[in-house]
Symmetry: C2
Subunit: 140 residues, 2 copies
Amino acid sequence: MSKTTFSIRDLASEFDVTTRSIRFYEDQGLLFPTRKGQTRIYSSQDRVRLKLILRGKRLGFSLAESKELFELWDQTPGGSMKQLERLQAKITEKKQALEQQLNDIAMLQIELDSAEARCQSAMQELLVQKENVLQEQNPK
Amino acid sequence: MSKTTFSIRDLASEFDVTTRSIRFYEDQGLLFPTRKGQTRIYSSQDRVRLKLILRGKRLGFSLAESKELFELWDQTPGGSMKQLERLQAKITEKKQALEQQLNDIAMLQIELDSAEARCQSAMQELLVQKENVLQEQNPK
DNA sequence: GTGTAAGTTTACGTAAACGTAAAGATGATA
DNA sequence: TATCATCTTTACGTTTACGTAAACTTACAC
């Protein structure tokens, strides 16, 4: 069986964030750990949430955006038609943004490859120059 | 032939950013427009730079990061071996980050699809309920 | 000339996402 | 029992990326 509860340090070291950040996310209403005394106890649900928050950040989501998505998602079963339509709209919006990102990444990858090639040949050029200097200094 | 110079407003409306932002990028050393009197004139080089800056932002680059990449890139021809090695390292780093992003996007796309399905069926459920109510009120 | 529209500099303001320090509570350990 | 180590709250500080307002110049339109 996998672990079911986590300390704040567990999560902090697993995902390489500070405890300050994790508490901040709670402050902003994205996490809701239970307490044992005054100490925070995180469920594996909380852990998943944190993972989603961090992935969102890597993709440029603000905390407010992630929070909004969580809330829409949590209300899905039993939500009103209007809420569901808002969720659908958000999903469509995010999907489009991801398409844009895929484009951006593809283009940047091409450019990085070309930059790498240019960089390599510049380095090669330097090596050749060096050899030439050595040959002049030390002609056979 | 395509346009070779641009006003700050040209660029602002083409890329949908404020002139304030464009001036800020110059302030931070990412753009270097020439002047006609005191008015800024942007070359198509500058335009490309701006495009790169904005794409970088969409991919989570800070302005400082973009600036660093520009500077390394500009020094590539005639750069020292050490500079070239730094560039190569940066390129490798960015490529890895892009791989991570591709992973993140792929996973998020899957989740969005599944969320969309759940959302759709919740909406379908609401419609069915509505029909049932109507049938009760209006039995044939 | 007189707006007025778009450009400029200067400078203070702001939101987001934490960093960091202070000061106290709690539990394990020597 | 004393001392850590780790948790907590509170609160002010900081960086990034601009927003916004003020006060000024320049270029056409009337």
